[in-house]
Structure formats: structure tokens, C-alpha cells
Amino acid sequence: MSEILRLENLCKQFGGIVVADDISLTLSAGEILGLIGPNGAGKTSLFNLVSGVVQPDSGRIFLQGQPLEGPLHRRARAGVVRTWQHMRLFRSMTVLENMLVATREYPGESMLRSMFATASVRRAEAEARGRAMDLLARMGLTQAADSIVVDLPFGQQKLIGLARALMNDGRCLLLDEPMAGVEGSNYETMQRIVRDEAAAGRAVCVVEHNVSFIKDLCTHAVFMAQGKILQRGSVDELTRSRELTELYFGTVEDHADA
């Protein structure tokens, strides 16, 4: 299996708090890795480091063998895309617009090209629109295409957040608590989509507190606490470990019974 993402000895601290303590990790195509751990463990910080929101104090990141560096937008253009804990959808825009603005290649977005819409821009727009509608169709949300995104129910908004990230068509997908507050059919849709994307050759990493979701979806998992990776293995192994359960304040145990 080809390696998509490799983290080598990542370290980062803010003031006195260590959010990443010598983190090394590999993610391959088709894998869905779960990141679990208590609050403050450094899970979202890891996403911030990989996506470029924050620069590490030391350590390196590789995407498909090439060093991944530079500001956020360059990393997204390289094919690393993430979703956010608080969604961060574009509030004044429709669902379709949110998705169209998320494509990795965007020939029409240069101001000059927008002014003198050449045929190439029109073609690119049509192609992006086609992809967006396909994604919406897979999620059963075609009818929502022209709604202002914040008018949709919460669960659908989270699906749109995922759809928007998928427009990037990147090899590395980082999902930050995608399932928080989602239930029922939306939950199943999201599960199905993530599995399909991994099967299509993407490397997916998921931060989630909902452990049953992680059990259902992830191929394996990593347990983090205080910026360190304490254990890696299959989700079963991690959830059955006594010490990790204690570290996680018994939450894992409850979910394991449910």
C-alpha cells in the first residue's frame, strides 16, 4: 500500500504546554486511522500541524514522499484537506457555492479571468459544478444545492462540510470530529462516504470522541494523551486496554458496552 502521509518526530509547544511530543506516524492509502484520547491530548493540534495552521518547533512532514511545508493554502493545493470542529462553513453562501470554492484547481478564480470569462473558465465551472452535484447526489442532498448553507439542519451542514473537503480531491483527508451531533441517516451516509473515499485510495485520519463510530469505521487507531502517542493498534486492542480506559475516564468502557 502506498504511503500518503508521514510524520517524523513532530514537536510543538505553546508557552509551557506541550501539544506534540515527538509524534511519528504513517498513513497509507485506504487506511482510516482513528485518533482518540482525552481533551487536551493534542489531537486537533496535530491536524493544525499537518494542515499548516501552526508550524512545528521541530520534526518533518511528508506527503507522498515529498516534504509538506509552507502556509495553509499551499498544503491544500498539495492535496491535504481538513474539516473543522466548528465546521467553518461560508455562512453567506449557498451549499453549491461553498463547494465550488473548495476545488483544488480553480482557473476561473484569477480576477482577470473572472472579468473576461473565457471558454476555459466556463468549462472549469461546469466541470466543478458536475463534481459537486455528484457528491451531493451521493449524500442524497441534491435538493439542498441552492440553499444558504446555514439554513440547513445541523446534520446536513456537517455532511456539506465533508462534501466541501472532498471537492479538494486530495489524497489526505483529515476529519475533525465529523460525527459530533450527527445521527440517524446522516450518520450512516457519512460513514458510507468516508469508507468509499478510503477505498478509492485516500488516506483518512479521524478525530472522534464517539468511540463506536471509530470502531465501526476505522481500520486502526492511535491513542494520544498530553501530546504523546501512547499506543497504536486496532481499535479493539485499544478499547480493551485497561490503562487507556482509565486514562480516558471510563468513557471508552461505557461506549464499549453500548
Partner: protein, 288 residues
């Protein structure tokens, strides 16, 4: 009718200024008050080249646009990391500093300005010919801005206004977008400057000071920040209105301050009573 041509030219020039300023602060969300400076750079460059060289006037105006664009990019790059309120102050300082420079140098004519800008079009139809050229340019500028904002670029800019971090994390270069908007807006102001210099044939530093900033700002606020038609209506109203005062046969020393009072009172009124301007609609997302 010279008088109508003058008013028409003023309206056209101010539409370009207001529309480009609206692009910068309304669409781009950039905090600057220094728009008249690029108006000045365009005017002075065109004027100095027109007076000092034999270059055709079109070239001089193009040079004016070029200087405005280069200066705007230089300013943008240096002030890139300055945030919100400080950026406003930086732009104000930049404007006043540059005006001081113009005031102090001999070759720019100092405080008394340049009054020997060469004639380019003569004859009885001068006013109308200029007006025609101006009208075409106005349509072009406004149309270009509209197209940019209605297209994919405008979409990316709206995303940037909604959430910069998310926008950048999806691959958009915020800096590029801001610089491009700023450069285009300032270039348009430079064009307006060139037009102004050649038509009115007299420019001086005091035409480009904070009062001018306030005038352009008034037009944008009155019309509606971040709308397409707003700056046009704002420019029209605020050129036409003071012209009404000139009919009252007041001594010239009163006309200036009276116009200024009308402008400023209008801005303040609109800021409080109708912040979305004449054209804008009260939207949740629009910053006011």
C-alpha cells in the same frame, strides 16, 4: 454647455473612484482611507508627463495607472501583516505623508499645484468628446468590477470575507486576492486621476487630502457598501447635490465648507439611520 460637461465629468470620475473604493473596502474588506493618494498619483504622473514630455496623452494616463498600481502593490506588500485598525492608521499616515512630499517638492508644483497641463482636445465639442470618453471608461470599469465579483473570483472573495482560515485551508491564497483587488482598485483611481488632470487642467495637493477621502467614503456609504449600484448612485447624488448649492449664489468661500457640511452630515446620518446605504439591503452577513 460647459457646465453640464463639467458636472458630467465629475460624476464619471467620482463613479470610478467610488466603485473602485467600494471594491477595496466593500468587497475586499481592506481597511484603507488612502484612496485619494492613488487618484493623486495618477493625476500627477499624467500631468507631469504631459507637461514635461511630448508623449501622447493616452500614454501619460496609462503611465498614471501604472504608477498607481505599482505603488499600491508596494504598499500592500509592506502593510500585509498589519491588522485592522492599525492598517487604517497606516493608510492615513501614508496619505498625509505623501501629500507632504508633494507639497515640499518643487517639480510637483508645491502647494500651488500644476496648472499648465497641456490641452489635448480643443474646440466647441471638447466637453462632449471628453464626456463620451469618460462614459466609456466608466462603463468599462464598472462592468469589469461587476464581472469579477459575479464570477468565481467574487465567490472566492466572499468566502474569504466569511472565514479567512477556512478559505485558506481550502487552497486559496488570501494575500494574492487582497493584493489583486487593491491593485485593480488603485489602478482605477489612477485612471480617474489621469482623466481629471487632462480635463480640468489643474491639480493641487489639497484636492487629494482627507476631505477627499471623506467625499469618496461618503459616496460609498451612502450608496451602500459592497453593492454594485451603490457607488454609482452615491457618486451621482453627491455630485448633483452640491451643484444645487452653486445655484444659490453664495460667496465662493462659503460654498466649499457648505458642501463639506452636507457631505459629512449625510454620512453620519446614513451610518446611523441606514447603514446599508440607499441600495443595500439589511443583511445579516454584511459588515456594518
Amino acid at each position: 454647455m460647459e457646465y453640464l460637461a463639467n458636472a458630467g465629468m465629475l460624476i464619471g470620475i467620482y463613479i470610478i473612484l467610488a466603485a473602485s473604493y467600494n471594491l477595496i473596502i466593500g468587497y475586499g474588506g481592506l481597511n484603507t482611507i488612502a484612496h485619494p493618494i492613488f487618484f493623486a498619483l495618477g493625476a500627477y504622473t499624467a500631468a507631469l508627463l504631459g507637461i514635461g514630455t511630448t508623449l501622447p496623452s493616452v500614454v501619460c494616463v496609462l503611465a498614471g495607472i501604472g504608477v498607481a498600481v505599482v505603488a499600491s502593490v508596494a504598499l500592500a506588500v509592506t502593510t500585509l501583516r498589519i491588522e485592522g485598525d492599525y492598517l487604517l492608521i497606516a493608510s492615513l499616515g501614508f496619505q498625509l505623508g505623501l501629500l507632504q512630499l508633494v507639497n515640499n517638492f518643487e517639480f510637483t508644483g508645491g502647494p500651488s499645484g500644476l496648472s499648465n497641463i497641456p490641452v489635448t482636445i480643443t474646440g466647441p465639442g471638447r466637453g462632449w468628446l471628453y464626456l463620451l470618453i469618460c462614459a466609456v471608461l466608466v462603463v468599462v470599469v464598472v462592468w469589469l468590477i461587476w464581472r469579477a465579483m459575479a464570477g468565481p473570483f467574487g465567490r472566492a472573495v466572499r468566502a474569504m470575507r466569511d472565514d479567512e482560515l477556512a478559505c485558506a485551508a481550502l487552497g486559496r491564497s488570501l494575500i494574492t486576492m487582497k493584493i489583486v483587488i487593491f491593485a485593480f482598485g488603485c489602478g482605477a483611481a489612477g485612471l480617474a486621476g489621469g482623466l481629471y488632470a487632462y480635463y480640468f487642467q489643474y491639480i493641487s495637493p489639497e484636492q487629494f487630502n482627507v476631505a477627499q477621502s471623506a467625499t469618496i467614503l461618503t459616496m460609498v456609504v451612502l450608496g451602500g457598501i459592497g453593492t454594485t449600484w451603490g457607488p454609482l448612485i452615491g457618486a451621482f447624488v453627491l455630485v448633483a447635490l452640491p451643484q444645487a448649492i452653486t445655484f444659490m449664489q453664495l460667496p465662493s468661500s462659503l460654498v466649499g465648507p457648505l458642501q463639506g457640511i452636507i457631505f459629512t452630515v449625510l454620512v453620519i446620518l446614513f451610518l446611523f439611520v441606514r447603514p446599508h446605504g440607499l441600495v443595500g439591503r439589511r443583511e445579516a452577513g454584511v459588515a456594518h
